[in-house]
Amino acid sequence: MANIANKQMICEVLMNAAKTDKDIVVLCSDSRGSASATPFANAFPEQFVEVGIAEQDLVGIAAGMARVGKRTFPMSPACFIAARSYEQCKVDVAYSHTNVKLIGISGGVSYGALGMSHHSAQDIACMSSIPGMRVYLPSDCNQTKKLMEVLVKDNEPAYIRVGRNAVDPVYSEDDVPFVMDKATFVTKGTDVAIIACGEMVLYAKQAAELLKKDGISATVLDMYCIKPFDKESVIEACKNVKAVISVEEHSPIGGLGSMVAQVVSENCPKKCVTMALPDAPVITGSSKEVFAYYKLTGDGIAAKAKELLHG
Protein backbone atom coordinates (compact mmCIF):
# COMPACT_ATOMS: atom_id res chain seq x y z
CA MET A 1 0.00 0.00 0.00
CA ALA A 2 1.19 3.49 -0.80
CA ASN A 3 2.17 5.70 2.07
CA ILE A 4 -0.87 7.69 3.18
CA ALA A 5 -1.70 10.25 5.86
CA ASN A 6 -2.61 8.80 9.24
CA LYS A 7 -6.07 10.40 9.05
CA GLN A 8 -6.66 8.67 5.72
CA MET A 9 -5.68 5.37 7.29
CA ILE A 10 -8.17 6.01 10.09
CA CYS A 11 -10.89 6.44 7.49
CA GLU A 12 -9.88 3.22 5.73
CA VAL A 13 -10.01 1.21 8.95
CA LEU A 14 -13.39 2.72 9.80
CA MET A 15 -14.78 1.94 6.35
CA ASN A 16 -13.62 -1.61 6.64
CA ALA A 17 -15.15 -2.00 10.10
CA ALA A 18 -18.41 -0.24 9.15
CA LYS A 19 -19.17 -2.89 6.54
CA THR A 20 -19.98 -5.38 9.27
CA ASP A 21 -20.53 -3.18 12.33
CA LYS A 22 -23.58 -1.01 11.69
CA ASP A 23 -23.13 0.73 15.05
CA ILE A 24 -19.99 2.52 13.86
CA VAL A 25 -20.80 6.17 13.25
CA VAL A 26 -18.47 8.93 12.03
CA LEU A 27 -19.37 12.51 12.90
CA CYS A 28 -17.84 15.64 11.38
CA SER A 29 -18.08 19.38 12.05
CA ASP A 30 -17.89 20.54 8.42
CA SER A 31 -14.58 18.71 8.54
CA ARG A 32 -15.19 15.65 6.37
CA GLY A 33 -12.79 16.87 3.68
CA SER A 34 -9.98 17.81 6.03
CA ALA A 35 -10.54 14.58 7.99
CA SER A 36 -10.31 12.47 4.81
CA ALA A 37 -13.76 11.22 5.81
CA THR A 38 -15.55 12.02 2.55
CA PRO A 39 -15.19 8.44 1.26
CA PHE A 40 -16.78 7.19 4.49
CA ALA A 41 -19.62 9.74 4.25
CA ASN A 42 -20.29 8.70 0.65
CA ALA A 43 -20.08 4.96 1.26
CA PHE A 44 -22.00 4.90 4.56
CA PRO A 45 -24.43 7.85 4.57
CA GLU A 46 -26.58 6.08 7.16
CA GLN A 47 -23.59 5.89 9.51
CA PHE A 48 -22.41 9.45 9.05
CA VAL A 49 -23.60 12.53 10.96
CA GLU A 50 -22.77 16.09 9.95
CA VAL A 51 -23.20 18.66 12.72
CA GLY A 52 -21.85 21.78 11.03
CA ILE A 53 -19.23 24.02 12.58
CA ALA A 54 -20.18 23.26 16.17
CA GLU A 55 -17.59 21.22 18.05
CA GLN A 56 -19.41 21.23 21.40
CA ASP A 57 -22.46 19.83 19.64
CA LEU A 58 -20.23 17.36 17.78
CA VAL A 59 -18.90 15.78 20.96
CA GLY A 60 -22.19 16.00 22.89
CA ILE A 61 -24.06 14.28 20.06
CA ALA A 62 -21.34 11.63 19.74
CA ALA A 63 -21.63 10.93 23.47
CA GLY A 64 -25.43 10.71 23.37
CA MET A 65 -25.29 8.31 20.43
CA ALA A 66 -22.70 6.20 22.21
CA ARG A 67 -24.90 5.98 25.28
CA VAL A 68 -27.57 4.40 23.07
CA GLY A 69 -25.13 1.80 21.76
CA LYS A 70 -23.29 3.41 18.86
CA ARG A 71 -19.50 3.40 18.48
CA THR A 72 -18.87 7.00 17.59
CA PHE A 73 -15.86 8.63 15.94
CA PRO A 74 -16.15 12.43 15.88
CA MET A 75 -13.42 13.74 13.57
CA SER A 76 -12.45 17.39 13.76
CA PRO A 77 -9.23 19.42 13.77
CA ALA A 78 -7.32 18.69 16.97
CA CYS A 79 -7.13 22.38 17.79
CA PHE A 80 -10.93 22.55 18.01
CA ILE A 81 -12.00 19.14 19.30
CA ALA A 82 -9.47 19.24 22.13
CA ALA A 83 -10.12 22.85 23.10
CA ARG A 84 -13.55 24.14 22.03
CA SER A 85 -15.27 20.95 23.16
CA TYR A 86 -12.94 20.19 26.06
CA GLU A 87 -15.73 20.22 28.64
CA GLN A 88 -17.82 17.84 26.52
CA CYS A 89 -14.77 15.55 26.25
CA LYS A 90 -14.40 15.68 30.02
CA VAL A 91 -18.03 15.38 31.14
CA ASP A 92 -19.98 13.73 28.30
CA VAL A 93 -17.24 11.35 27.16
CA ALA A 94 -14.75 10.52 29.92
CA TYR A 95 -16.81 11.18 33.06
CA SER A 96 -19.97 9.66 31.60
CA HIS A 97 -17.85 6.83 30.21
CA THR A 98 -19.31 6.79 26.71
CA ASN A 99 -17.73 4.85 23.86
CA VAL A 100 -16.48 7.84 21.91
CA LYS A 101 -13.18 7.92 20.03
CA LEU A 102 -12.25 11.55 19.59
CA ILE A 103 -10.17 11.91 16.44
CA GLY A 104 -8.07 15.08 16.42
CA ILE A 105 -6.89 15.59 12.86
CA SER A 106 -4.19 17.94 11.59
CA GLY A 107 -2.73 18.06 15.09
CA GLY A 108 0.28 19.92 16.42
CA VAL A 109 1.51 22.48 13.91
CA SER A 110 0.13 20.63 10.87
CA TYR A 111 -1.66 23.78 9.77
CA GLY A 112 1.69 25.59 9.70
CA ALA A 113 1.29 29.19 8.64
CA LEU A 114 -2.35 29.36 9.72
CA GLY A 115 -1.11 30.29 13.18
CA MET A 116 -1.75 29.52 16.82
CA SER A 117 -5.57 29.39 16.50
CA HIS A 118 -5.10 26.30 14.33
CA HIS A 119 -2.26 24.68 16.26
CA SER A 120 -2.92 22.10 18.96
CA ALA A 121 0.11 22.25 21.21
CA GLN A 122 -1.85 21.73 24.42
CA ASP A 123 -3.91 18.64 23.62
CA ILE A 124 -1.62 16.03 25.20
CA ALA A 125 -1.63 17.97 28.46
CA CYS A 126 -5.34 18.70 28.60
CA MET A 127 -6.61 15.34 27.37
CA SER A 128 -4.19 13.26 29.45
CA SER A 129 -5.24 14.97 32.65
CA ILE A 130 -8.87 13.87 32.28
CA PRO A 131 -9.55 10.72 34.35
CA GLY A 132 -10.68 7.88 32.10
CA MET A 133 -9.44 9.41 28.85
CA ARG A 134 -6.88 7.42 26.86
CA VAL A 135 -4.53 9.38 24.60
CA TYR A 136 -2.75 8.07 21.50
CA LEU A 137 -0.37 9.72 19.03
CA PRO A 138 0.53 7.13 16.40
CA SER A 139 3.75 7.69 14.48
CA ASP A 140 2.96 6.45 10.98
CA CYS A 141 0.11 5.05 8.92
CA ASN A 142 1.08 1.43 9.54
CA GLN A 143 0.96 1.87 13.31
CA THR A 144 -2.23 3.93 12.95
CA LYS A 145 -3.84 0.94 11.23
CA LYS A 146 -2.88 -1.41 14.08
CA LEU A 147 -4.09 1.04 16.69
CA MET A 148 -7.41 1.74 14.97
CA GLU A 149 -8.11 -1.94 14.47
CA VAL A 150 -8.12 -2.24 18.26
CA LEU A 151 -10.04 0.97 18.89
CA VAL A 152 -12.92 0.13 16.52
CA LYS A 153 -13.66 -2.87 18.69
CA ASP A 154 -13.16 -1.69 22.25
CA ASN A 155 -15.64 0.20 24.41
CA GLU A 156 -13.60 2.84 26.21
CA PRO A 157 -13.21 6.57 25.49
CA ALA A 158 -10.04 7.72 23.75
CA TYR A 159 -8.45 10.73 22.07
CA ILE A 160 -6.33 10.06 18.99
CA ARG A 161 -4.19 12.83 17.50
CA VAL A 162 -2.79 12.58 14.00
CA GLY A 163 -1.13 15.01 11.61
CA ARG A 164 -2.33 16.42 8.34
CA ASN A 165 0.09 15.09 5.74
CA ALA A 166 1.47 11.71 4.82
CA VAL A 167 4.75 11.12 6.62
CA ASP A 168 7.54 8.69 5.82
CA PRO A 169 6.85 5.43 7.58
CA VAL A 170 8.71 4.39 10.71
CA TYR A 171 7.68 0.78 10.21
CA SER A 172 7.35 -1.29 7.07
CA GLU A 173 3.84 -2.34 6.21
CA ASP A 174 4.50 -6.03 6.71
CA ASP A 175 6.43 -5.65 9.95
CA VAL A 176 4.72 -3.39 12.49
CA PRO A 177 5.59 -4.38 16.05
CA PHE A 178 2.49 -3.43 18.01
CA VAL A 179 1.12 -4.31 21.39
CA MET A 180 -1.82 -2.23 22.58
CA ASP A 181 -0.80 0.21 25.31
CA LYS A 182 2.85 -0.90 25.22
CA ALA A 183 5.37 1.53 23.76
CA THR A 184 7.40 0.23 20.83
CA PHE A 185 11.20 -0.04 20.93
CA VAL A 186 12.32 1.14 17.49
CA THR A 187 15.98 0.64 18.42
CA LYS A 188 17.74 -0.43 21.58
CA GLY A 189 20.97 1.24 22.66
CA THR A 190 23.13 1.94 25.66
CA ASP A 191 24.17 5.60 25.60
CA VAL A 192 21.05 7.70 25.24
CA ALA A 193 17.29 7.11 25.24
CA ILE A 194 15.18 9.13 22.82
CA ILE A 195 11.49 8.91 23.65
CA ALA A 196 9.13 10.38 21.07
CA CYS A 197 5.51 10.35 20.01
CA GLY A 198 3.56 11.05 16.83
CA GLU A 199 5.48 12.40 13.86
CA MET A 200 8.56 12.97 16.02
CA VAL A 201 9.28 9.24 16.16
CA LEU A 202 10.57 9.31 12.59
CA TYR A 203 13.04 12.08 13.49
CA ALA A 204 14.11 10.20 16.60
CA LYS A 205 14.80 7.17 14.43
CA GLN A 206 16.81 9.31 12.00
CA ALA A 207 18.75 10.76 14.95
CA ALA A 208 19.64 7.27 16.14
CA GLU A 209 20.99 6.43 12.68
CA LEU A 210 23.12 9.59 12.66
CA LEU A 211 24.40 8.91 16.17
CA LYS A 212 25.33 5.37 15.23
CA LYS A 213 27.74 6.73 12.64
CA ASP A 214 29.44 8.61 15.45
CA GLY A 215 29.64 5.53 17.61
CA ILE A 216 26.76 6.52 19.90
CA SER A 217 24.21 3.87 20.69
CA ALA A 218 20.64 5.16 21.12
CA THR A 219 17.40 3.64 22.24
CA VAL A 220 14.36 5.00 20.41
CA LEU A 221 11.05 4.44 22.14
CA ASP A 222 7.83 5.13 20.22
CA MET A 223 5.51 6.38 22.95
CA TYR A 224 2.35 6.28 20.84
CA CYS A 225 0.41 5.41 24.00
CA ILE A 226 0.59 8.61 26.00
CA LYS A 227 -2.15 7.40 28.31
CA PRO A 228 -2.18 4.81 29.74
CA PHE A 229 1.49 5.76 30.00
CA ASP A 230 3.72 2.73 29.63
CA LYS A 231 6.01 3.42 32.59
CA GLU A 232 7.70 0.04 32.42
CA SER A 233 9.01 0.64 28.94
CA VAL A 234 10.21 4.13 29.87
CA ILE A 235 12.11 2.71 32.83
CA GLU A 236 13.52 -0.08 30.69
CA ALA A 237 14.62 2.44 28.06
CA CYS A 238 16.16 4.84 30.55
CA LYS A 239 17.64 2.81 33.39
CA ASN A 240 20.99 1.99 31.77
CA VAL A 241 21.61 5.02 29.55
CA LYS A 242 23.47 8.19 30.44
CA ALA A 243 20.82 10.70 29.33
CA VAL A 244 17.23 10.91 28.20
CA ILE A 245 15.68 13.08 25.49
CA SER A 246 11.96 13.36 24.90
CA VAL A 247 10.66 14.77 21.63
CA GLU A 248 7.12 15.97 20.95
CA GLU A 249 5.09 18.24 18.71
CA HIS A 250 3.53 19.92 21.73
CA SER A 251 4.06 22.60 24.32
CA PRO A 252 6.95 21.85 26.70
CA ILE A 253 4.43 22.06 29.53
CA GLY A 254 2.44 18.99 30.56
CA GLY A 255 3.25 16.80 27.58
CA LEU A 256 5.43 13.78 26.92
CA GLY A 257 8.52 15.48 28.40
CA SER A 258 6.77 16.13 31.69
CA MET A 259 5.56 12.52 31.85
CA VAL A 260 8.97 11.06 31.01
CA ALA A 261 10.70 13.30 33.56
CA GLN A 262 8.23 12.24 36.23
CA VAL A 263 8.86 8.55 35.64
CA VAL A 264 12.63 8.86 35.26
CA SER A 265 13.06 11.05 38.34
CA GLU A 266 11.08 8.61 40.45
CA ASN A 267 12.67 5.43 39.16
CA CYS A 268 16.10 5.97 37.62
CA PRO A 269 17.08 9.63 38.12
CA LYS A 270 19.32 11.18 35.45
CA LYS A 271 19.46 14.12 33.09
CA CYS A 272 16.25 14.49 31.04
CA VAL A 273 15.85 17.05 28.28
CA THR A 274 12.50 17.96 26.73
CA MET A 275 12.57 18.84 23.04
CA ALA A 276 9.25 20.44 22.13
CA LEU A 277 7.60 23.46 20.57
CA PRO A 278 8.09 26.68 22.53
CA ASP A 279 5.61 27.99 25.08
CA ALA A 280 4.76 30.72 22.60
CA PRO A 281 3.09 31.16 19.21
CA VAL A 282 5.41 29.35 16.81
CA ILE A 283 7.28 30.97 13.95
CA THR A 284 5.34 31.19 10.69
CA GLY A 285 6.03 28.39 8.26
CA SER A 286 5.09 24.94 7.06
CA SER A 287 5.23 22.23 9.71
CA LYS A 288 8.57 21.02 8.32
CA GLU A 289 9.97 24.54 8.46
CA VAL A 290 8.68 24.93 12.00
CA PHE A 291 10.25 21.61 13.07
CA ALA A 292 13.58 22.62 11.52
CA TYR A 293 13.54 26.02 13.21
CA TYR A 294 13.03 24.45 16.64
CA LYS A 295 15.52 21.64 15.89
CA LEU A 296 12.83 18.96 16.00
CA THR A 297 14.66 16.99 13.31
CA GLY A 298 17.02 14.03 13.08
CA ASP A 299 19.98 16.43 13.04
CA GLY A 300 18.63 18.52 15.88
CA ILE A 301 17.95 15.55 18.13
CA ALA A 302 21.35 13.99 17.35
CA ALA A 303 23.10 17.27 18.16
CA LYS A 304 21.26 17.48 21.47
CA ALA A 305 22.27 13.90 22.30
CA LYS A 306 25.94 14.63 21.60
CA GLU A 307 25.78 17.79 23.68
CA LEU A 308 24.35 15.82 26.58
CA LEU A 309 26.83 12.98 26.31
CA HIS A 310 29.97 14.98 25.60
CA GLY A 311 29.09 18.30 27.17
Binding site: V25, E46, V49, V51, G52, A54, Q56, D57, V59, G60, I61, A62, A63, G64, M65, A66, R67, V68, G69, K70, T72, E87, Q88, V91, D92, Y95, S96, H97, T98
Partner: protein
Amino acid sequence: MKNLTKLAYKLRMDVVDMIVNGKGGHIGGDMSVMDVLVTLYFKEMNVTPENFETKDHDHFIMSKGHSVEALYAVLAEKGFFPRETVLKEFSQFGSKFIGHPNNKLPGIEMNSGALGHGLPVAVGMAIAEHMNKSENRVYVVMGDGELAEGSVWEGAMSAANYRLDNLCAVIDRNRLQISGSTEDVMALDDLHRKFESFGWHVIDVNDGNDIEKLIAAFDEARVVKGKPTLLIANTVKGKGSPVMENKASWHHHVPSAEEYAQIMKDLKAQAEED
Protein backbone atom coordinates in the same frame (compact mmCIF):
# COMPACT_ATOMS: atom_id res chain seq x y z
CA MET B 1 -53.83 13.81 38.54
CA LYS B 2 -54.51 14.79 42.11
CA ASN B 3 -52.53 11.81 43.32
CA LEU B 4 -49.53 12.84 41.23
CA THR B 5 -49.80 16.41 42.50
CA LYS B 6 -49.83 15.13 46.06
CA LEU B 7 -46.93 12.84 45.28
CA ALA B 8 -44.95 15.83 43.99
CA TYR B 9 -45.45 17.61 47.32
CA LYS B 10 -44.48 14.49 49.24
CA LEU B 11 -41.30 14.18 47.19
CA ARG B 12 -40.55 17.86 47.81
CA MET B 13 -40.49 16.97 51.52
CA ASP B 14 -37.87 14.31 50.74
CA VAL B 15 -35.83 16.93 48.90
CA VAL B 16 -35.92 19.29 51.86
CA ASP B 17 -34.81 16.50 54.19
CA MET B 18 -32.03 15.56 51.78
CA ILE B 19 -30.75 19.14 51.62
CA VAL B 20 -30.94 19.79 55.35
CA ASN B 21 -29.25 16.49 56.14
CA GLY B 22 -26.64 16.93 53.41
CA LYS B 23 -26.12 20.60 54.32
CA GLY B 24 -26.36 21.69 50.70
CA GLY B 25 -28.32 21.47 47.47
CA HIS B 26 -30.26 23.56 45.00
CA ILE B 27 -33.63 23.80 46.65
CA GLY B 28 -35.30 26.49 44.52
CA GLY B 29 -34.94 24.66 41.21
CA ASP B 30 -35.78 21.31 42.83
CA MET B 31 -39.12 22.71 43.89
CA SER B 32 -39.92 24.31 40.53
CA VAL B 33 -39.07 21.24 38.44
CA MET B 34 -40.67 18.60 40.64
CA ASP B 35 -44.02 18.48 38.83
CA VAL B 36 -42.27 18.08 35.47
CA LEU B 37 -40.24 15.15 36.82
CA VAL B 38 -43.23 13.48 38.46
CA THR B 39 -45.22 13.78 35.21
CA LEU B 40 -42.34 12.36 33.18
CA TYR B 41 -41.58 9.42 35.45
CA PHE B 42 -45.10 8.50 36.54
CA LYS B 43 -47.11 9.28 33.41
CA GLU B 44 -45.15 10.10 30.29
CA MET B 45 -41.98 8.05 30.05
CA ASN B 46 -41.57 4.34 29.49
CA VAL B 47 -38.81 3.71 32.00
CA THR B 48 -38.64 1.37 34.97
CA PRO B 49 -35.82 -0.16 37.01
CA GLU B 50 -36.40 -3.35 35.01
CA ASN B 51 -36.39 -2.00 31.45
CA PHE B 52 -33.62 0.49 32.24
CA GLU B 53 -31.19 -2.42 31.94
CA THR B 54 -32.45 -3.19 28.41
CA LYS B 55 -32.47 -1.18 25.18
CA ASP B 56 -36.23 -0.76 25.36
CA HIS B 57 -36.89 2.37 27.36
CA ASP B 58 -37.24 6.10 26.97
CA HIS B 59 -34.23 8.28 27.76
CA PHE B 60 -33.96 11.15 30.19
CA ILE B 61 -31.25 13.78 30.61
CA MET B 62 -31.29 16.16 33.55
CA SER B 63 -29.41 19.00 31.90
CA LYS B 64 -30.00 21.27 34.89
CA GLY B 65 -28.01 18.78 36.90
CA HIS B 66 -27.96 20.89 40.05
CA SER B 67 -31.61 19.91 40.62
CA VAL B 68 -30.41 16.39 41.30
CA GLU B 69 -32.14 16.22 44.69
CA ALA B 70 -35.53 16.33 42.94
CA LEU B 71 -34.37 13.62 40.54
CA TYR B 72 -33.10 11.45 43.42
CA ALA B 73 -36.46 11.74 45.20
CA VAL B 74 -38.32 10.73 42.02
CA LEU B 75 -35.94 7.85 41.16
CA ALA B 76 -36.21 6.50 44.71
CA GLU B 77 -40.01 6.64 44.52
CA LYS B 78 -39.77 4.84 41.18
CA GLY B 79 -37.78 2.07 42.84
CA PHE B 80 -34.31 2.64 41.40
CA PHE B 81 -32.73 2.82 44.86
CA PRO B 82 -34.01 2.94 48.44
CA ARG B 83 -35.41 6.27 49.60
CA GLU B 84 -33.83 5.83 53.04
CA THR B 85 -30.39 5.43 51.49
CA VAL B 86 -30.47 8.64 49.52
CA LEU B 87 -31.97 10.60 52.41
CA LYS B 88 -29.21 9.37 54.68
CA GLU B 89 -26.25 9.49 52.29
CA PHE B 90 -26.82 12.50 50.02
CA SER B 91 -23.67 14.66 49.98
CA GLN B 92 -22.07 12.71 52.81
CA PHE B 93 -18.37 11.77 52.70
CA GLY B 94 -17.76 8.98 50.21
CA SER B 95 -21.41 8.89 49.08
CA LYS B 96 -22.51 7.81 45.61
CA PHE B 97 -25.28 10.39 45.88
CA ILE B 98 -23.29 13.45 44.86
CA GLY B 99 -24.63 16.90 44.06
CA HIS B 100 -25.10 16.27 40.33
CA PRO B 101 -26.42 13.29 38.34
CA ASN B 102 -23.94 10.44 37.96
CA ASN B 103 -24.50 7.38 35.83
CA LYS B 104 -22.86 5.05 38.31
CA LEU B 105 -26.29 5.19 39.97
CA PRO B 106 -29.18 3.16 38.57
CA GLY B 107 -31.68 5.21 36.59
CA ILE B 108 -29.21 7.87 35.46
CA GLU B 109 -27.89 7.71 31.91
CA MET B 110 -25.47 10.59 31.65
CA ASN B 111 -23.44 12.66 34.07
CA SER B 112 -24.42 16.29 34.03
CA GLY B 113 -23.76 19.40 36.03
CA ALA B 114 -21.88 21.52 33.52
CA LEU B 115 -24.75 23.49 32.01
CA GLY B 116 -25.56 23.47 28.32
CA HIS B 117 -24.55 19.84 27.76
CA GLY B 118 -27.91 18.10 27.95
CA LEU B 119 -29.52 19.15 24.69
CA PRO B 120 -26.66 18.06 22.38
CA VAL B 121 -26.44 14.74 24.24
CA ALA B 122 -30.21 14.27 23.90
CA VAL B 123 -29.92 15.09 20.20
CA GLY B 124 -27.32 12.33 19.87
CA MET B 125 -29.61 9.86 21.62
CA ALA B 126 -32.54 10.85 19.41
CA ILE B 127 -30.46 10.52 16.20
CA ALA B 128 -29.29 7.08 17.34
CA GLU B 129 -32.84 5.95 18.15
CA HIS B 130 -33.99 7.18 14.73
CA MET B 131 -31.17 5.18 13.15
CA ASN B 132 -32.32 2.16 15.14
CA LYS B 133 -35.92 2.76 13.99
CA SER B 134 -36.86 2.49 17.65
CA GLU B 135 -39.98 3.87 19.32
CA ASN B 136 -37.98 5.08 22.32
CA ARG B 137 -38.35 8.77 23.01
CA VAL B 138 -35.79 11.17 24.45
CA TYR B 139 -36.54 13.80 27.10
CA VAL B 140 -34.27 16.54 28.40
CA VAL B 141 -34.97 19.10 31.11
CA MET B 142 -33.05 22.37 31.01
CA GLY B 143 -33.02 25.34 33.33
CA ASP B 144 -33.79 28.76 31.94
CA GLY B 145 -30.56 30.39 33.12
CA GLU B 146 -28.75 27.56 31.30
CA LEU B 147 -30.02 28.87 27.97
CA ALA B 148 -27.26 31.48 27.91
CA GLU B 149 -24.86 28.64 27.06
CA GLY B 150 -24.13 28.64 23.33
CA SER B 151 -24.06 24.85 23.14
CA VAL B 152 -27.83 24.83 23.83
CA TRP B 153 -28.38 26.64 20.55
CA GLU B 154 -26.01 24.36 18.67
CA GLY B 155 -28.15 21.48 19.94
CA ALA B 156 -31.38 23.31 19.08
CA MET B 157 -30.19 23.82 15.50
CA SER B 158 -29.16 20.21 15.02
CA ALA B 159 -32.39 18.82 16.54
CA ALA B 160 -34.42 20.68 13.93
CA ASN B 161 -31.96 19.85 11.15
CA TYR B 162 -32.38 16.14 11.88
CA ARG B 163 -36.17 16.48 12.29
CA LEU B 164 -36.04 14.77 15.67
CA ASP B 165 -39.71 14.24 16.49
CA ASN B 166 -38.66 11.66 19.08
CA LEU B 167 -37.07 14.45 21.13
CA CYS B 168 -38.96 16.52 23.68
CA ALA B 169 -37.16 19.23 25.62
CA VAL B 170 -38.55 20.99 28.67
CA ILE B 171 -37.44 24.34 30.01
CA ASP B 172 -38.04 24.83 33.71
CA ARG B 173 -38.95 28.48 33.20
CA ASN B 174 -38.87 29.75 36.78
CA ARG B 175 -37.42 33.09 35.66
CA LEU B 176 -34.76 33.20 38.40
CA GLN B 177 -31.11 32.28 38.44
CA ILE B 178 -28.44 32.64 41.10
CA SER B 179 -27.85 36.35 40.51
CA GLY B 180 -31.49 37.34 40.13
CA SER B 181 -34.09 37.56 37.38
CA THR B 182 -33.14 35.80 34.16
CA GLU B 183 -34.29 38.85 32.27
CA ASP B 184 -31.88 41.06 34.23
CA VAL B 185 -28.93 38.67 34.06
CA MET B 186 -29.23 37.80 30.36
CA ALA B 187 -32.59 38.41 28.76
CA LEU B 188 -34.15 35.24 27.33
CA ASP B 189 -37.58 36.30 26.12
CA ASP B 190 -39.16 35.70 23.69
CA LEU B 191 -38.19 32.05 24.15
CA HIS B 192 -41.20 30.78 22.24
CA ARG B 193 -40.28 32.70 19.11
CA LYS B 194 -36.59 31.93 19.48
CA PHE B 195 -37.11 28.17 19.47
CA GLU B 196 -39.85 28.37 16.88
CA SER B 197 -37.49 30.22 14.56
CA PHE B 198 -34.98 27.41 15.12
CA GLY B 199 -37.56 24.99 13.69
CA TRP B 200 -39.10 23.60 16.86
CA HIS B 201 -42.72 22.98 17.78
CA VAL B 202 -43.11 25.05 20.95
CA ILE B 203 -45.77 24.60 23.62
CA ASP B 204 -46.25 27.17 26.36
CA VAL B 205 -47.39 25.51 29.56
CA ASN B 206 -48.77 28.52 31.39
CA ASP B 207 -48.59 26.71 34.73
CA GLY B 208 -45.66 24.32 34.68
CA ASN B 209 -46.50 23.17 38.18
CA ASP B 210 -49.91 21.92 37.01
CA ILE B 211 -49.57 18.23 36.23
CA GLU B 212 -52.75 18.09 34.17
CA LYS B 213 -51.42 20.81 31.89
CA LEU B 214 -48.06 19.10 31.63
CA ILE B 215 -49.70 15.83 30.60
CA ALA B 216 -51.69 17.61 27.90
CA ALA B 217 -48.49 19.22 26.60
CA PHE B 218 -46.59 15.92 26.50
CA ASP B 219 -49.56 14.36 24.68
CA GLU B 220 -49.39 17.11 22.08
CA ALA B 221 -45.61 16.62 21.71
CA ARG B 222 -46.09 12.92 20.96
CA VAL B 223 -48.14 13.55 17.84
CA VAL B 224 -45.87 16.23 16.36
CA LYS B 225 -44.07 14.83 13.32
CA GLY B 226 -40.91 15.97 11.59
CA LYS B 227 -39.66 18.36 14.26
CA PRO B 228 -38.61 18.37 17.91
CA THR B 229 -40.92 19.78 20.57
CA LEU B 230 -40.15 22.19 23.38
CA LEU B 231 -42.31 22.66 26.45
CA ILE B 232 -41.78 26.00 28.12
CA ALA B 233 -42.96 25.07 31.60
CA ASN B 234 -43.66 28.35 33.40
CA THR B 235 -42.93 27.34 36.97
CA VAL B 236 -42.41 28.96 40.36
CA LYS B 237 -38.94 28.73 41.84
CA GLY B 238 -39.22 27.38 45.37
CA LYS B 239 -42.76 26.12 44.65
CA GLY B 240 -44.53 24.73 47.70
CA SER B 241 -43.99 27.26 50.47
CA PRO B 242 -44.14 31.06 50.63
CA VAL B 243 -40.90 30.89 52.65
CA MET B 244 -38.95 30.13 49.49
CA GLU B 245 -41.21 30.89 46.50
CA ASN B 246 -39.87 33.32 43.88
CA LYS B 247 -36.77 34.21 45.87
CA ALA B 248 -33.45 34.10 44.02
CA SER B 249 -31.64 33.78 47.35
CA TRP B 250 -33.22 30.32 47.70
CA HIS B 251 -31.31 29.05 44.64
CA HIS B 252 -29.11 27.01 46.98
CA HIS B 253 -30.12 28.11 50.44
CA VAL B 254 -30.18 25.50 53.19
CA PRO B 255 -33.24 26.05 55.41
CA SER B 256 -32.71 27.01 59.07
CA ALA B 257 -34.54 24.98 61.71
CA GLU B 258 -37.33 27.56 61.78
CA GLU B 259 -37.61 27.71 57.99
CA TYR B 260 -37.53 23.93 57.83
CA ALA B 261 -40.48 23.63 60.18
CA GLN B 262 -42.60 26.09 58.21
CA ILE B 263 -41.68 24.63 54.79
CA MET B 264 -42.44 21.08 55.88
CA LYS B 265 -45.76 22.21 57.36
CA ASP B 266 -46.70 23.89 54.08
CA LEU B 267 -45.62 20.94 51.94
CA LYS B 268 -47.31 18.40 54.17
CA ALA B 269 -50.60 20.28 54.00
CA GLN B 270 -50.52 20.11 50.20
CA ALA B 271 -49.32 16.51 50.12
CA GLU B 272 -52.29 15.50 52.24
CA GLU B 273 -54.91 17.82 50.79
CA ASP B 274 -58.18 16.13 49.93
